[in-house]
Symmetry: D2
Subunit: 396 residues, 4 copies
């Protein structure tokens, strides 16, 4: 076993880390107090500088303008970027575009790639991913209700989606829809590329989440598809392979998310320590002198170390042995890291007292928005059941 990082990667991480601190941290206040649109100009300028520095789209293929880094390298970067809620966007590797680009790159037809890939990687346009539906449990893919009926050379889509993140302002939506209702249950759905200006594709509203409807990239929309007609050539990959593609997309996506969460933890721990070290609570006594605060710092550091090693191990397994071999590991990190995230942010907030409740630090944002980490891409409980089922197989 060898836990060392190559020095070249370490240098890259340092460079990115400094950029995040010096260029993105200062934008956060505007973002927190005035919203995403208010920070768009600042972010556009930051994106230009990222491109000039050759740091753009670290995870995307070089032939489309990215850095072409592998899963383990990008995982390390994702942590650095995660320290700011603006990190991934500023570096052109934000979800859900990142996953969509991967799908197009792996499964897109030449025309699909031609039409979308360069523009998506460059950040000229954005995309969204229409999978989750309000009426059925997202954790059970068999329950998907959106239909894509074949009609001549077209598919006609009808259905309802929500939590379609970033739909507000997106040019493209990759929609999961049932094309083959009579096929075996994991072969009923397909992925279909639906430009958002297609008639019948309607963004109903940005769902208010934790007090905010959000706007633009930072929003989660409810989307209605009514008689929404796209040509058969809009099919992404083979018909009926929607779940297979989704699985392909989810594995690395969970690595990225988990490392992003660890970046959040890192930031929270930094804020927690900085606050504790400078907050006077009695004459001559700092908050950091208190044992309970110290216990929280130590417990957070230990859990974060444990979590990071688990994610790196999962990334390594996926990198060397493929997605399937990494299934256990992916289930594990999904619920374990989400738990660490919630505990660390909660402690950091508590250390800040009333200030932690305000938007004068980024902690309250993390606290409320990242509560979703235990829910999306499968709630904790579903991953635990899946993992246990696999473990128990050898005991039956």
């Amino acid at each position: 076993m060898d836990f060392s990082q190559p020095p070249s990667l370490q240098a890259l991480l340092d460079k990115i880390s400094q950029f995040v601190e010096s260029e993105l941290f200062p934008l956060e206040r505007t973002f927190l107090l005035e919203g995403f649109n208010a920070v768009m100009p600042g972010l556009a300028a930051a994106r230009e500088r990222v491109k000039e520095l050759g740091l753009w789209a670290p995870n995307h293929p070089t032939e489309h303008g990215g850095m072409g880094l592998d899963l383990m390298q990008h995982a390390a970067i994702s942590k650095e970027l995660g320290r700011s809620p603006l990190g991934h966007y500023a570096f052109g590797c934000q979800a859900p575009d990142a996953g969509n680009i991967e799908l197009l790159h792996q499964f897109g037809s030449p025309e699909q790639k031609e039409r979308w890939l360069d523009r998506l990687v460059s950040g000229e346009v954005r995309s969204c991913f229409g999978m989750t539906e309000p009426q059925v449990a997202g954790s059970n893919p068999n329950l998907i209700e959106c239909r894509a009926r074949r009609d001549g050379d077209d598919y006609v889509l009808d259905g309802q989606k929500w939590f379609t993140s970033g739909a507000d302002g997106a040019a493209l939506c990759i929609v999961m829809a049932v094309t083959n209702p009579d096929a075996p249950k994991y072969q009923q759905a397909s992925m279909i590329l639906v430009p958002t200006d297609t008639p019948g594709f309607e963004r109903v509203r940005n769902t208010p989440v934790m007090g905010h409807a959000g706007e633009g990239y930072f929003s989660h929309s409810e989307v209605s598809l009514r008689d929404c007609r796209v040509p058969v050539s809009a099919l992404l990959g083979p018909e009926g392979k929607g779940f297979t593609l989704a699985q392909t997309r989810l594995g690395p996506g969970r690595i990225h998310h988990c490392m992003r969460w660890l970046g959040i933890c890192q930031r929270a721990l930094e804020l927690m320590c900085a606050r504790a070290a400078t907050r006077l609570i009695a004459p001559g006594e700092m908050l950091a002198d208190k044992q309970i605060i110290r216990a929280w710092i130590a417990e957070s550091a230990a859990e974060m170390q444990a979590a990071e090693l688990m994610v790196q191990h999962a990334a390594w397994t996926m990198h060397i042995q493929g997605n399937k071999a990494a299934r256990h590991s992916i289930s594990m990190i999904k619920f374990y890291v989400a738990g660490v995230l919630q505990r660390v942010v909660d402690r950091a907030l508590q250390v800040h007292g009333a200030l932690g409740m305000t938007d004068d630090t980024v902690l309250a944002f993390f606290y409320r928005e990242e509560r979703a980490s235990r829910i999306y891409d499968g709630p904790d409980e579903v991953h635990k059941m899946s993992l246990a089922r696999q473990i128990l197989k050898s005991y039956r």
Copy 2:
């Protein structure tokens, strides 16, 4: 021991509970999506009906227009009202007015009462309480920096306050300020009545809390006092007795808060059960059939039962033996019930999945706003230390 409630109280609670469900629950959606001002007309109408039903201001003295109920009775009511974020306001017993009214009633001069009490109790005007300061730890009252300098027949106040809840729109602020800097440390501060239109009293901003600056009653302001001059007759109670008065105010206040939190828990448990019982997760299988969900329901119910009995016991102790005898109990309930609140709301949110993150239920509001419960009126950790110190006394 006798755990029974008198039938008359039970009838009253049922009546209030029904009102909350039928009249206030329907207003919540507007409140959550559009803010407090948007729901003001609906609330004003609800307040009128509450008055017509003879349920107004249950905790306030009958001579000023309230129902004159005792601490234990009002505690039970506070739980019913807590099921909606609009409950206490609709019934005229919202913080911080409730505490301020108690202070004025107990310690106000005849002129002070004459000027303020009826108008506050009736809801004609609102008040706020200026204690917490941004630069010093709220948990240590000795660190208060706001000064009230005696100048002839006036006090001249200078200082900075924040988390002055409801200052936006309030007519009166009860300000805690140091009048006697050379006195022993718990006898330095006094409470002073400062009308908010006094020159030098400025509401700087509504501090953004969990993503929202809020508005009107639902807001927490930063307040600046600069050469703010009030007559000596504005002193509430004796000079130097600010902390004593604050203690008087805090005891029953914590009972009310804790019972309000238990109302929130009750609502969260109801939503959790209702969701679980109706959410299909696989053909023929409901979420409520799942063991993990059932464990959460059982654990929540047990913790809530434990918490409620503790609060009732603390209220009873305070009622029978006075504030001082109840000190242990008050410290206990403060951190214990806040912990139950956080766990129960967290579970209810998780049971709702993505929906729990949205503002289509009230859970996300409770999740983010009530995180403050572990902080205000003394963070959990301070109460634990205080309780342990008292327990350890007999072992030294």
Copy 3:
């Protein structure tokens, strides 16, 4: 609501508490280091003094030599006695005799009472209760396998029991056996009185529990019944009513157990505080000066207060409204109090460091033996499911 205890009860509790401290604490060392038989002479003497003081068998009927106290009074006493592992035995109200005596008193025939009751209440003989079986889940009463076949005027019992507590040295065993295998599932079993000298009744071994086979009263036996013949008159209560009788027995039994556990918590908290207050960890610094220790003390005190009120409430509900109305409450206290017990004892042990691992305090005994509290009389998880099922009924 009224949380006061009558002064007469309080005086009784004080008297008992002093006896436990002065007479039983000193016997514990011999018990811990040398076992139950070694402490028997000391206990016999203590029992005599208890009788002289008129404190014998507080829960048993006066006509059979007890004090005749009601459920709530005995609950309070049970906590005092629980502070020592020898408490209940010394006062003649130890399980399983206490439950057996209740059964005999309520359901026994005149001959059965005549033969057993006085001798059991006086402590002249002991009894055991044969319900749990090694091959089937104790939490599912339908799975009971021991059979009692009717043969003329006799029952012939065949089966295997374990965790028959106190069988070693007992004169009587109340055996749960299936008499009516074709009846509906909760009406198949009956309770049968089997003197332990009946041919075919064999104590196979004392099962080693947490490192010790135990001896005499402090042991849990495996019992074999082979062609074990008793007259039909040995039936306790009606045939097929075994489960009904068991339920009757379990309700108050759980109250007693929970209060006993709270006595253990009380003792653990006392030891924790005393140790912390006297253990020097650095020049001039006591363990009790440490925040983490204080947090544990406070959390323990709060949880114990919560737990005690819950148990008292459950006892009150059962006392006023009967066993059935108290079902929710009984499920709640069973798992909630067992959890508190484990946490408090664990903290107390940790505060003692290496000493906590030794048998030089009673903590290591509590730590290992009382781990069973989360298992017997239904594991935590079974009680949680039962409670949740009842709560969810109104949401279907």
Copy 4:
């Protein structure tokens, strides 16, 4: 980063694992029910077979008869051995001999090595380590009271030790004693080799721990040193360097302990799964079908994975960068892994129900004996404080 194990190591681990299962698991029952002495003959035979297989003393230098494996390799082996309480002893790498051998190998004089090393490595004799004292907090090394006074060419030792593990039957004790009371605080103590047959060295008793005084290797003794005279040549390493040597010993020792604990976790998880998969709880329903059980299995697996990676990382850091660089990591694993151990064993016990309380499985032994893991080598809390202090340094 590279998480792969070399195939040769994996083959070795498989061989050891099979030996543990086939040769040691069958000995456990005798050990659990009759004690260590009863299992000595079986263990002696097992040791012979281990030697024949060339697996003896994996961590010890080849020149003294060991396999000479490095820290990371032995860590992996330690986990396999940890699955049985007899594993380390059977393979000749049991504590405290392992640490003592390391000390002698690194710091012993030629005569000391000559006299002790081969005999200790071969298992011909055993040793113990006399550090902890009953009257002072083990977590604070400054408080050590045992004195070694220089008298001519001798040291004369006086003091009291306890938790001297394995003293019963040991030939040698390495005693930590103050030789230089006036030196700076971390330079006062020295390590001195005291043969246990030295006049004045007395094993007072085997301290009863969790119900058992133990015997032979499985015991923890109280040791008295009275006028105990050894020649100056018995000094191990330089005078006044006792703490430095102890630190050297502790680092790798904690790696070994943590991996041993992970072996226990592995065993507990195996037992938990096997029990769940075969225990019928209702007709047609296995315990393993229950969601709560599955959640425990998944949580245990995740925590164990996290813990193992942390320990491997700490071992790697120590291996590559030395003890000092690994200080953070060592503090982390000490408390983190001990916590995982306790939770996993607790869950496994609960899954076994009443059986889990008995000594018919090894779980009850793990439950009670390994409670010490959170205490020895520094309680959790001390390690947390130490880690936090180091983290906070960069924020001051």
